[in-house]
Structures are given as C-alpha cells and as structure tokens.
Amino acid sequence: MANYNIDAKKETTYDAIVIGSGISGGWAAKELCEKGLKTLVLERGPIVEHIVDYPTMNLDPWDTELRGGLTPEQQKKHYKAIRSGWIGTDTEHFWADDEANPYTEKKPFLWLRGHQMGGRSLLWGKQTYRWSDLDFEANAKDGHGVDWPMRYKDIEPWYTYVEKYAGISGEPLGLPQLPDSHFLPPMEMNCVEKHVKNRIEKEFKGRNMIIGRCAHLTVPHNGRGQCQNRNRCSRGCPFGAYFSSNSVTLPAAHATGNLTIRPYSIVQSLIYDDAKGKAAGVRIIDAETNEDIEYSAKIIFCNASTLSSTQILLNSKSDRFENGLGNDSGELGHNLMDHTYRVGAMGTVAGFDNKYYKGRRPNGIYIPRYWNINEETKTDKFVRGFGYQGSGGRVGNPANTEDFGADFKDSILKPGPWEFFITGFAECLPYHDNQVSLNNEVLDKWGQPTLTIDAEFKENEKAINKQIQEDAVEMLEKAGLNDIIGFDNEHSPGWGVHEMGTARMGRDPKTSVLNEFNQVHAAKNVFVTDGACMTSSSCVNPSLTYMAITARAADHAISELKKRNI
C-alpha cells in the first residue's frame, strides 16, 4: 500500500474535511472519498499503516525484555489510562500520552484515548450489536433526555450496509431487543460455555446466552484474512481479520485517489462564516512544528471521538457562537453517558477436567437484555436495562494454591481450573449535569484548553447494577457453578469506554445540538457522527451504530451537496 503521509501543506482547500480517523472517521473518509469528494483526514497523531506499523504483532512474551512490564517513565506517560489495566508493552504505543494531553476529573472518570491513525479502532473490543427501537424509543417513552430524531427503520439499511463491508460474525436469533445483523458464520462456545448456556436457558425463561457478535472475520472477506485465534488484536492484526480503520475503511478511501491524511494535526477549532451561516474550515496546530494552518472545505465531519469532538466545538467560538459552535441549546458538553462495567459474578465449573480447547478466541459470550423489554418483563426497580458479556476458560491463578515444589510445578504446567464469569453493561440515562466543559487553567502541551469532566452514575444506574449482580449470582448458581463471587467494582463512568453524548441529536434545536442527519442545527455543513451524537446510551455496545450513523450521514451530506443545500 502506498504511503498515506501526503504533504497537505500545498493544498489547503478540499471538498470535505474529516477530523479523526477512528471507527467513525474511517467510515466518513471511505464514504466521502468513494462518492468522489477530495477529502482531507486530519489525524492528531502519527500514521499507522496496516501491518507495516504494527511493531509488536508477532512478539511472544519472552521477546520483550520486561515481558509486558512498563518502565516508570511509561507508567508516568499513561498515568491515567493505566488504571484500565490494559496497557502493556505490546500496546503502549497505541495509547495517548496523558501528560501531554491532560484532563481534569471533577469526579473519577477514565478517558481512554488513542492518538494515532485508526485511533481506538485498533484497540476496541469488537463487540458489534445492532440497537433496536427499544433503544431509539426509550427517551420518548420514559421521558429521560430528548427523543431520538430517528428510529430503527431509518438506520436498519445502514446497519446492513456497514455490516456487509466490515464483516460481522454471529448467530441470528430473531430477538426483537437485539436485531440480527447480516452475519458471517458465528464463532463457537467452548464446552463449559455451552454447558452454562444450556443451564441458564433451561432455568430462566426469556434469557439467552449467545456467542458474542463481533467484528472478526470467521471466513475470508473483501480481501482480508480470517481470524487465526491469536487474540493479539490490539497490537494490530497481520491478517486484517478484525475491523479497524487501518485495515478496512482507510485503505478503501485511499484506493479512490481522493484521500489525503495529514498526521500530527491537532484541530484547534472550526472556522464559522457568519455571513454564510456555515463552517468555512478548520484551524489546526501542527503537533510537531507548532505551526498554525487553516484548511477549508464544503463539509466538515467531526469524528475526533465523543469528548474530543465536543471539545473542538466548545473551543470554536465566534460572534455567532460565543459558547461554542452549534451551542444555541446550551446542551453542548452535556448528557455524557457511559455503560456501567465490571459488575457481575464469577465461579468455577466442575466436571470438565478432561476437556480443553485449542486457540485463543478473541470473543466471549453475550446475554442480551431481558428486563423491561415488554410488559411481562417490566420492573419498577429501574428503567432501561442491561446485558452481560463473559467467557469461560482454564486459566486460574496458581500463585494462590497453597503448595510449592516439584508436584506444584507439574500442576501449573497443566490446564488451570475451569472458570466462568459474566459482567453486566447497564444503560446510563442522559443527565444534563453529567458534562464536560473547557478548562482554560489546565492547558495541553500545545497551549490549548483541556476538558474538565464532571459525571457520575446515579440512582437508576446503581439500581441496575444491584440487579446485574443479583441476577448474575443467581444464574451462575442455577448453572451449577462453585466458588461463586458476586462483584460490583466500578462506580464511576469512563471505564466502560463507551462514552456517548455531549452533542446529542434531537428533533428540536432548542434542546439538541444535531438534527436527524447529524448536522449541527445552525451549521448544516458540520456533521458530528461519533459517540458525541448519541441521544441515549442503550445497554448495547455502540460502535456498530457509529458506523451506520456515519455512513447514513455521509450519504445525506453528498445528497445535500448535490442539491446545493449546503
């Protein structure tokens, strides 16, 4: 593949600018380029070319000196993100520098960022589920937040469109609360997972346990290879077997000849043309030279990630928009959501000591939402609901075994005990006071204002968490597990890494930032199609919905451009 790093300095005018190259930015770039628009993608960090820039993709533990351990310097660089427990030498280079890019937590909030081409599409969990009208109608029905300006039927064709291209594996079930995708063959559960599934489905009417639906190829697809079950995804996949911007959408955009990616480009703000009533372009700071540069375009897609897109809009001040571009409603920065996380149960499973598996399947199981999906399942303890993810395997922690010596050594070489866990993901309501704001006291490495994050889970989320743990323990008990431990570990948002909202879509410009096609109400050539646009949070992983929303918005942008409406 040709080098992406094209010198964008000579050319400062494009048809379209896409800010950010992660999951949604990659889709915006692909769709706009394929429709013939000369598109500039502005990426805050370095180029990460598929395969070429995956330095750790084939390393075994013993290939690195510290076998995953981080030096004090690396720990300092990632002092916030390290709380996730996910950062090791294998992926350290794909996590943002917390010291250069500070943020302030008024209440605890983990903001995980990936500042490179591909963004967090390199690091994501790859669980891919469609949302349903249970989600799109939720705000209207129970009165929390504002109504989504679209319904499932509006986005359904775009789910199909992105799924067919991205490649989503899974099993169709026909559940109304979790619509089936256009699937590649499903992955398979191991013996213990199948056992637990059978027990849970027998004991609990209306509950299903399914193999995770995920953006991993189970068969070759669109020139990409199938999953080899290495489970080293976050280092970058040499087979291109999981969906990332780097392996899927950006190469497609590049192939059109219409794509320019400018790395090390920190978007400072959007430029608003008061006379024309639309955005004229963007101001960037070159992260390496500190040079200020302006680029202009007919349309601008904001895909910098939920909080970063909002940060850019808040920082885009003009006579027309004193409090940030598109902020007539005062809702910009508000209604931040995430899913609750790490609440559930785990236990051990007896009777399968002579069973094992081959391969490191990068996927687990899923238990779709079963509360508040109809009259029969309604509870008065909380509104909305939750789903579970989990998995079973033979790992264990032999350090806890009260033994040592020759026999002990032999025992740790054998497969560990069978363990199984489920952890819930609960829907978070859109609360106006869960918010981000510009912080002019704490500046980043480039002298730009940063974000203060002030968000917390409230009573409804806490009530759901209680149910998650109770149900999880009960299900594992009925499934016959031993040594069951219920847990409720995280009480603050961000850890779910499903941050959503802060520039929500809505029907009314007085209470929302974006319209039904993700256009800023008062600047119709500005589209926000990353997580910032979300009006509610569902309990279902959001990335597939970002993809579909982005493709839909790009299609609308092209059509509006043709009609000269923008």
Binding site: L66, N190, Y356, Y357, K358, I412, E419, F487
Partner: protein, 198 residues
C-alpha cells in the same frame, strides 16, 4: 514500617515457632559461600541469593526445568530494577530483610543458610499465612485487594517469570503462536500441558 508489621507482611509471624539460632544453623553459616554467577541490576548479592533460593524451592528442577534453569531470579531482578519506582524498590528491600529476620527468629538463620527441610518449613508457614490474590477480569482485580505479602508476591513473580520464559513457553508448554481454527472442545490428553500463550 515497624518490625512487627514487617514480619506480618512476610506472612511468617502467625503460628511459627520462635527459636534461637541453633548450633546447626551456626554450622550452616560456616559452609562454603557460593558466588553468584550473574550481576544483578537491583539486588545485592545476598538478596539475589535469597530470591534464587526461594524460587528454586517453589519451582525446583526435576525432569523439567526449574525456576533457576530459566533464570527466573535474573528476570525478577530486572523487573524490579526497571519497572518499580523508588518506593517500590525500597519496600522490596525491606521485605527481603524482614523475610530473613523472620527466618532467623523462627528457624535460626537467614533463608539462604537454612537447609532444605527448614526452607520447606518456612514456605509451608508462609503459604498458610500469606494473603491471596483476588480474582480479576479483563486486567483488573475484583473487590478490595488485601495486602498479599512478600511470599505470595514473590511466588507470583516466580510463576510469571517461569511461564513466560522462552524455554518453558516454547519447549515445555504447548506453543502455538498462530492457532488457526478455534477448536471448542478437545480432550486434555490431546495436548497434555496447557497452552503457553494466554
């Protein structure tokens, strides 16, 4: 850290019989000193010998390699030198010192000077009194983790060093860097030992 706390942290305080240095251990300390064959980055020579002796007790050489065969002690030294902050390093020194003081008080001599039977007694007592690791999911511990104490922390490091060494990873465990298909249910007998890559 006061000494009582230090002893508690080593997991050797409770239940262990107090003993004064015996003639036997005094004789032991007169035996010929074995020199360390590698240059530690962090440990003193005595500390390195203590850790070496400890990991050798936990994972001894049999018909399969032991911890020392795969240089677990060398790796542990490197990890402490290169990934611990100053406070962590100081605590490690204190822990090793406290461990040896406890050995001295309860078994009559520092760990390295105890014979294998005595060393085994030290470990048996430590196994009973050391904290346990809480389970974790997705890289994070579940619940409030009580202090683990020196012994189990070091045991955990020894197991990590052992299992992630090239010799064990490639030659003793089942090494399969590119599995290809996922096989959901196979008999253990088909592979014997566990997969080396997690």
């Amino acid at each position: 850290m006061d000494r009582r706390k230090a002893l508690k942290k080593t997991g050797l305080l409770a239940g262990a019989a107090l003993a004064t240095p015996s003639l036997f251990s005094l004789l032991q300390s007169c035996k010929e000193e074995t020199r360390l064959t590698w240059q530690p980055e962090f440990f003193t020579e005595d500390e390195a010998k203590t850790i070496g002796a400890l990991v050798d007790m936990i994972l001894p050489t049999t018909d399969t390699p032991g911890a020392l065969d795969v240089k677990a002690d060398v790796f542990i030294d490197k990890v402490i030198a290169q990934t611990y902050n100053t406070e962590g390093q100081e605590n490690m020194r204190k822990d090793i010192a406290a461990f040896n003081i406890a050995c001295q008080e309860n078994y009559g001599d520092s760990f390295i000077n105890l014979n294998e039977t005595k060393r085994a007694e030290v470990l048996k007592a430590a196994e009973k009194t050391s904290g346990k690791f809480n389970p974790g999911i997705w890289g994070k511990t579940i619940g409030e983790q009580e202090p683990i104490g020196f012994y189990r922390s070091m045991k955990s490091m020894a197991i990590w060093a052992y299992m992630t060494s090239e010799d064990i990873g490639e030659n003793v465990l089942n090494y399969l860097p590119v599995p290809g298909n996922f096989e959901a249910c196979i008999p253990v007998s088909e592979v014997g030992n566990r997969w080396s890559l997690g």
